[in-house]
Amino acid sequence: MKSHYNLLIVGGGPAGAIAARTAAEKGLSSCIVEKRSAIGAPVRCAEGIGREALTEFVKPDERWISAEMKGAAIVAPDGTMMKLESALAGNKVGYILDRKVFDRELVWQAAEAGSDVAVKTRAAAPVMEDGVVRGAILEYCGKVSRVTADVVIAADGVESKFARWCGIDTTVPVREIMSGVQYVLTDIDIDPHSTIFYLGNEVAPEGYLWIFPKGGRSANVGIGISGKKSGSGHRAKDYLDRFIQKTFPKGKPIEFIVGGVSVCRPLECTVADGLVITGDAARVVDPLTGGGIYNAMFTGRLAAQVAADCIAQGDMSKKALMKYDKEWRGSKMGKTIERNWHIKEYVVKLSDEKLNAIIHSAANLNLSEFSTFTLIKELMKVNPKLVIELGALAASLR
């Protein structure tokens, strides 16, 4: 490890890896520091991503794709299933990844492009000079070192601390943290090419429960519930165990995963002097789906691109780095987050009866494009009242 880099990247997930790869390809020196001892582990993810979203960043490879998805289904609180199919029959609409291998692949690509990588290395504090972020104090097996950088990229995930140490409030509101648990279950009867989402206040209050196939008779079976609804005796694990006992009593768990997913609005500002915040640390998870892989890679790439421009011009001030903040907010990703936050706020307030009625209205939907956006649009067509209830938002959905 060197004592100075153009970019010091805190966190070796998809945001950090794509930032490092992008930086290295632009000829910048960069280093990823990952506090865990292995890239990709432990997994904190349901591992789903859309086909187009994935291919924008990396060519799909069977080494880290667990299963290909061709459809999805939504199950109403009363058990009614609504099937979502692609207008193009047999079309691959998405993938369930093997994040342990996927994350390694992305970091390997960053390393191959020229970035340095350090594992079991923790950024313990920022190096600050007159309020400007200049690097980080790193700890590795008891050894403390000071590494400076032109720009630090905080890609340290949901449990992000780096931005907070730099004076930015990253607190997620309790009602907007999804408290999550997941098993990788095997030896279960499932459709290996369709995801299933279960809704309802009995199943997953203000969240959802999912089955994401992982190949053959295995799947990620997980749940996220609002932090507001969590408490002693009614936690995410209690809800999930009850569901599994009922639905897959003979399923065998081969992995147990825990995690938190933010479904709040992104941080008010995602840059500071010498600092750019990306991915889950910036709270850019899609608030409706809880999906964060694409948004992490998108913000990671943009962070490195903007940082490269700023470094070339010798101005790494907050003002100069604001280009990053403005660009992602104005992007399709940024607009989707804002829109889906409003939809989420509407959906979490729906009663089970109302959810049942909406799902009954359409047993089968053939979607032209596989996204929550087209799903909501199609649901509005068969539920004209939704247009009124969604108010001003509905206009932007048409």
Partner: protein, 60 residues
């Protein structure tokens, strides 16, 4: 004070994200509680596993 049941904790960081004081830090597989913890209990509420517990007195 906040008691971490380390045998239950899944080291996921869910609690860290909601702490209004920034008093929690997940260091690999170790959840650290800083002295500025106000025992507000938000972390204990959201924990997916119930690994955090507010206790009245300091443990022996």
């Amino acid at each position: 004070m906040l008691n971490v049941h380390r045998d239950i904790c899944g080291y996921c960081g869910c609690c860290v994200s909601v702490c209004p004081e920034g008093a929690l830090e997940l260091i690999d597989a170790y959840l650290r509680v800083e002295e500025n913890c106000t025992s507000c209990g938000v972390c204990a509420k959201v924990c997916p596993l119930g690994a955090l517990e507010l206790v009245d007195e300091k443990p022996l």
